[in-house]
Amino acid sequence: MTSNTSKLLNGFNLEAVLGAREALSVAPEGAMFIWRAQSRWMNGTHTESAVNRFFGLGEEQEHLREFIYDTDHPEIFAAEDEGPTPVEMVLVGLAGCLTAGVASVASNRNIELHSVNATLEAGMDIQGIMGLDSDVRNGFENVKVAFDIEADASDEDIEAIVAQSQKRSAVYDIIANPTNVVVSVNS
């Protein structure tokens, strides 16, 4: 990981990633990761969450520093608006994941990117979370992502990169597919 990033296509260290992929193919147990976040209620609907430690490659790992995020709700929800809503954070996660995917797939296909912008939109009927109609689900009705990409590639190639990025995206999978969730209270 010591190579000079300015020389890398799209600033993406393809060689290191391919090397890691190769290593994990012979030692799949190293591929088991555990991601973590810790949260603290502040006031009203305001919560502060911290992200730092995670587990991967067979041992405990750490980010370079701790990252702190606030979530809250806007004033029309009679809240203080100390941060984005949790559902907007989900969109932030999706944007980050799909865009990282676009960069890695493009680099793997030796395509130079000039700009990658995405606009995300999720429709939600809040009758669900308000408990007004039990037929309405709490979460998103649908999620739309629109990419604007400038790159040295044909429209068809760009479309293929975006499709492949969805195929390999963790957050896309988390949103599109069900996951078992266990919430417990420590005694």
Binding site: P28, N142, E159, A160, A163, Y172, I175, A176, N177, P178
Partner: protein, 439 residues
């Protein structure tokens, strides 16, 4: 060619080669072993072409055109070159092939254990132990349906079937059917069941889309002419992905194309990949649009690869197939009681059965560890697996080139191994003689 080998008392025969399985791969191998003058036996659990006779549904035709049904030394002669053989015609063809060349097939010889002791392979059947210095596994890649773990989550009142249980629409007792899987099998069953008036829901994961005909010819003509079928396993970037590709959405009929657009027009409801069942609701992926987009993109790429060859041959132009049409919001969950789904058919692929293979050559996924059919155990070989040595490896016409490569490797293995065997005997005798002299 048969060297001296000490025999166990129950052993019947000692050969150069044991071939396991008398399907197209085993028979082609046997033909080439005969040509090479190697003594061998073909052990078959049932009879020749067993799976084709007993494990396929009634209407099934090969998805390759008849003119491509070739084995070393033989080809299927069909007046209508662009026809598609019924499975029973293929079974007859393989029977005739085995008889015409007097191939040494032993029927009813189900191998319950294959071991290797002191460099000799031992294949145990119920009535005998067969020994040989090499073995070719030609037992097929589709021995068992690969049913995903989520099958366990299905409620008891839902009937569950695999393609092995399916013979015709009469095999499905209920009106509403969920077919899981959008490969050749899933789409062919959906096609037949919707024709029979059933209410069909099709859960679609990643799939491979191909038009039956393109630029005036069958797609297999172009896959053949363009050299795509001859692409070697060691030239591909990601061999594992290639080997795991689902079979293309094709069937043995000229038209209409077997595709998701046609099935939807005829009333088939599409959903994303089936992910499980919770609290009486079937859960589907919201990623249907992307798997269809990926399949359309890959098909476009394939056709683009074919175009220059078609142009060079002066082939007629043809329009690219239209993109897969999807309704705006395919369901991501369905209530089992409201949805009229009473039966689930797992068209989720097949897997080989190696439960009898008592040699440590499988990976953590239960698949053979091999390099182009040369298994990681000296003298052990495999044939007839997807993309074994070439893209065409799992097709009937694809077996000859692979089998020639393997038989040639096997022949030189036997030669060097014999020499090593003789050297060992000599050095043993030499050591014993020196020991005696010292004593």
């Amino acid at each position: 060619m048969t060297p001296f080998i000490p025999r166990a008392s129950s052993s019947r025969v000692c050969d150069d080669v044991i071939v396991i399985g008398a399907g197209h791969a085993g028979l082609a191998t046997s033909y080439l072993l005969t040509e090479a003058g190697l003594s061998h036996v073909v052990l078959e659990r049932g009879e020749t072409a067993n799976a084709w006779k007993t494990e396929r549904w009634d209407s099934l035709r090969l998805l390759t055109p008849s003119w491509l049904t070739r084995l070393p030394g033989a080809r299927y002669l069909d007046e209508a070159d662009d026809g598609f053989m019924h499975v029973s015609e293929l079974a007859d063809f393989l029977d005739d092939y085995a008889k015409a060349f007097r191939l040494p097939v032993v029927s009813g010889a189900n191998v319950t254990s294959l071991r290797r002791r002191r460099g000799i392979f031992e294949a145990h059947t119920e009535s005998a132990v067969w020994q040989a210095r090499t073995v070719v596994l030609a037992s097929g890649a589709f021995n068992n349906p690969a049913v995903p773990k989520i099958a366990e989550q299905m409620p008891d009142n839902l009937m569950q079937m695999t393609p092995f249980d399916y013979r015709s629409p009469d095999s499905v007792a209920t009106d509403g059917v969920l077919i899981v899987g959008a490969s050749a099998t899933g789409l062919q069953l959906a096609d037949e069941l919707v024709n029979a008036g059933r209410k069909v829901t099709l859960a679609v994961g990643e799939h491979v889309r191909m038009p039956r005909r393109y630029r005036g010819e069958d797609i297999f003509y172009w896959l053949h002419r363009s050299g795509i079928h001859d692409q070697r396993y060691d030239e591909l970037d990601d061999i594992e992905r290639g080997r795991n590709l689902p079979s293309p959405q094709l069937m043995g009929r000229r038209s209409p194309d077997l595709d998701l657009n046609d099935l939807q027009n005829r009333g088939v409801q599409l959903t994303g990949k089936l992910l499980g069942c919770r609290e009486g609701r079937l859960l589907f992926s919201g990623g249907l649009r992307n798997v269809c987009a990926l399949a359309d993109l890959k098909m476009a790429r394939l056709l683009k690869q074919i175009d220059p060859i078609a142009d060079a041959e002066g082939a007629v132009q043809s329009a690219a197939p239209v993109a897969t049409r999807l309704e705006n919001t395919p369901p991501v969950s369905l209530d089992i009681n409201d949805s009229s789904i009473d039966t689930v058919i797992w068209a989720t692929g097949f897997k080989p059965d190696y439960s009898w293979l008592h040699i440590p050559v499988l990976n953590h996924k239960g698949l053979l560890r091999h390099d182009g059919g040369i298994v990681v155990c000296p003298g052990l070989y495999a044939l007839g697996l997807p993309l074994l040595r070439r893209r065409k490896s799992s097709f009937i016409f694809g077996i000859e080139d692979d089998a020639r490569d393997i038989v040639s490797h096997l022949t030189s293995f036997l030669k060097t191994d014999s020499r090593r065997f003789a050297d060992d005997l000599y050095s043993d005798a030499h050591t014993r003689a020196s020991a005696r002299r010292r004593a």
